[in-house]
Symmetry: C2
Subunit: 473 residues, 2 copies
């Protein structure tokens, strides 16, 4: 039996100002998990969401994760919000995951508006977290509220797991989930995460694969403090000079990785899998224009998607310890740390990638022949994730999207990593669906992050439809 949602969807459309107001409140809370000075705000955000979940009848608890060391200080970790809505033994149980923390943002980074003030312009809702991931989290809330308002009984029990450390490596969460395996996670039948993006801006999709990641720190030092470049220039081995040379040996101009053995680990592409790429709606020119590039390393649709989803890639993030301000400073930095990361795919193993990368860095360093001190080390890592696109959870998601958007969603992978996906899959033994609501150009992690008004409202409908579809899953 399919419940007709036409009227509810109309009500959701009409309720836009309220949906927006709640997002405005959430964006205004500066829950930047990576910034120790914003830790109180991050904790406040968890409490704010707890209150909202309680208003729809959820029984909530805050799981304490203890403390962490950050920039030399011991600070409290934000608690994880665990909620239970419904406990009907005759119903299956859906577990929803989302995160309440955000990436750093400052107007001076190049935002057109204040990042922590929600601003609507041309049908877009600008603000840090509007799309990643406060918007989608609120879509769950709005969807259930809409059902309750219309006395529609949910066909599943719903559990919530909302954390405040996703943008900082989900510190403490995997251990908590491990401890909760036989309590909070017991009886879960489906998991759904809405924390990724459509491939383009128009057509919905379901995500069946994520890349993993291996992060690296490359430290070079050799002089005991920063030096005046006039007095010491030319008569010492500069750590920054060594670091840039080493980093420049990692990739080709077209961004192919020079570390031996990495591409060889990639799972072979079967003809059947390759064929699935033919039908995916993806406009390379639109993608190129959206990033503002004049050319891309490849402009062939299939090759480009394969490189994003099922090949490793290496990206350079920056250098710690060197002069980074505007203008000139005639200093020779004494200790610099280069930051890069490698996205990994099946069948690559993080430990193997770490080993090969450190080995290659050490080999390159030996070729360099500098007397400076070289300390490469791996940072955090996460395994890639790929699943079956035809299980009942995925099919319910597909039906929901078709109901709202009128089209069959594409099945895609993502280039990024959501490590907790794999944790949920391993601990529950059940299907995890990634159900993205945002558009490809939402600019998560970047300046001018936004959520389209349309995606936000249709997102509420999609999640409601998905919950209802799970009744027949």
């Amino acid at each position: 039996m399919t419940v007709d949602l036409t009227n509810v969807f109309q009500q959701i459309d009409g309720d836009y100002e309220n949906l927006k107001e709640l997002l405005r409140e959430a964006v205004a809370i500066q829950s930047v998990s990576g910034d120790p000075s914003k830790r109180d705000e991050t904790i406040r955000m968890v409490h704010w969401m707890k209150e909202k979940l309680e208003q729809i009848g959820t029984t909530c608890e805050l799981a304490d994760l203890g403390t962490q060391e950050l920039e030399g200080k011991t600070i409290k970790l934000p608690p994880v919000l665990l909620g239970t809505l419904g406990n009907d033994k005759n119903k299956k149980t859906l577990l929803v995951y989302g995160h309440l923390d955000v990436q750093p943002a400052a107007k001076s980074d190049g935002w057109d508006t204040e990042p922590f003030e929600l601003v609507e312009k041309d049908g877009k809702l600008f603000g840090r977290g509007s799309s990643d991931d406060k918007g989608p989290v609120l879509c769950w809330l709005h969807a259930i509220r809409a059902a309750q308002k219309n006395n529609i009984e949910l066909p599943v029990n719903v559990k919530f797991c909302f954390e405040g450390m996703e943008e900082s490596g989900s510190v403490g969460l995997p251990e908590l989930l491990e401890r909760e395996k036989n309590r909070f996670l017991a009886g879960v039948d489906f998991v759904c995460i809405s924390d990724s993006y459509w491939l383009g801006t128009k057509k919905p999709c379901l995500t069946y694969g994520l890349r993993g990641i291996c992060s690296f720190f490359v430290e070079v030092t050799g002089i005991k403090q920063d030096l005046h470049s006039g007095v010491f220039g030319g008569v010492i081995h500069e750590p920054l000079q060594d670091l840039m040379w080493v980093m420049s040996q990692l990739t080709t101009v077209d961004n192919r990785i020079k570390i031996p053995g990495l591409y060889e680990q990639v799972a072979p592409l079967s003809a059947a899998e390759e064929k699935t790429y033919d039908d995916i709606e993806f406009d390379v020119a639109e993608f190129r224009d959206s990033v503002g590039a004049s050319h891309l390393p490849t402009e062939d649709k299939k090759t480009l998607l394969l490189r994003r989803w099922r090949e490793p890639s290496l990206a350079f993030h920056g250098i710690e310890g060197a002069f980074y301000g505007p203008g000139e400073k005639t200093v020779i930095p004494s200790k610099v740390i280069g930051k890069f990361s490698i996205r990994i795919v099946p069948d690559m193993d993080p430990e193997d990638v770490n080993r090969r990368t450190i080995e290659y860095l050490n080999k390159v360093w030996a070729e360099r022949g500098s007397p400076n001190v070289f300390k490469p080390r791996p940072g955090h890592s996460a395994k890639p994730w790929v699943v079956d696109v035809n299980d009942s959870n995925f099919l319910a998601g597909a039906r929901a999207m078709k109901r709202v958007h009128g089209v069959e969603p594409d099945r895609i992978r993502e280039g990024c990593s959501i490590p907790i996906t794999l944790t949920f899959q391993e601990l529950t033994g059940k299907s995890v669906l990634l159900l993205p609501l945002g558009a490809a150009d939402d600019m998560a992690h970047s300046q001018n992050e936004k959520n389209n008004k349309w995606n936000y409202v249709e997102g509420v409908k999609t999640l409601l439809a998905y919950i209802m579809e799970l009744g027949s899953a």
Copy 2:
């Protein structure tokens, strides 16, 4: 006639607590000229010094330099303090230059103490500006005070030119001096600048040469905003990747410059000049240990000094626009600006160096073959400076040092640049003496800048002796 200064020198020793108190006051004023938020403090520092000069009878004026654009704001430039002490037509006139502004400093940069609080420890006075250049500026004040207290008539008129923008390229000062050529600068017979360092920590020296500088900015962009490395990693040309590669092409591991034609411009070294290096007291092992290096590109005394003083060198300062914080941030920076500078020596010409460097960068970029946008440009530049070590001004300086320290000072060059030296020489047509008071390990521009108590006190005596020696110059 030589005035006996024995008693005055003893008085100066006994006056240490007062000397220290004034330095404490000066260091506490955070006159960081490069930081727009500290501009008021920089201006306050000029006014503070004006009051001190007036207390010893100096007639002062503040020369307005107008405004500058800094980080997108129009802000007031600090005025230049011009002082005149004595106007006896029968005496020659000494012009003293110094600067009242300092480099940026924060405890979090790695200072052991608060940089703007003077801390005495083990005979060292730690604090930003203690050595560069507030300490030496105060030595002039104390020296004249000591003469006045003992009713010793100065044999010369003294003029002061103290600026507040030296650490930020002396914006506006050359133009002011040009305008003052026939007024304030008229009648000047000697110029003395105490804003450099001894070659080691024990033996005094006089400085007869300075390197010039050519600064460069290398901008690479090509995507319109920072991107998520998971979503976009592997399918774009990263500006930071290009930049590090280009920068790595500028030098060899031993810090030799790869830009063609630069070394060829260096003035030939005569046998006579080369011989002067034999007697210079310089301990390579001590120098190596003072910077904390395990090896240096050369450990031959003469070769090392030649590279510091009369060869060009290239130093890398940092990158603007990339991630510079601690920890991880999986971002692909969209616009990065590499900063480096080349120290230049006679007979190199800044415009020629700029042209050759930009040409080389463009050539290297063409080899790179990246579709990103490459914009190298020169920053500020300054010519090198070398003079005769046997004129009357230098000989007066040498006699003064011998009187205080009992040894003949070494004649040295400096690797760094004090562009205003050349301006004074050109506008007055007179000898400019660089008379350093600080030790080689004072760590100007770096963490834990200090002035030795001993150097500070002997500095007062040296400047007094120098002024007195000018009477017979």
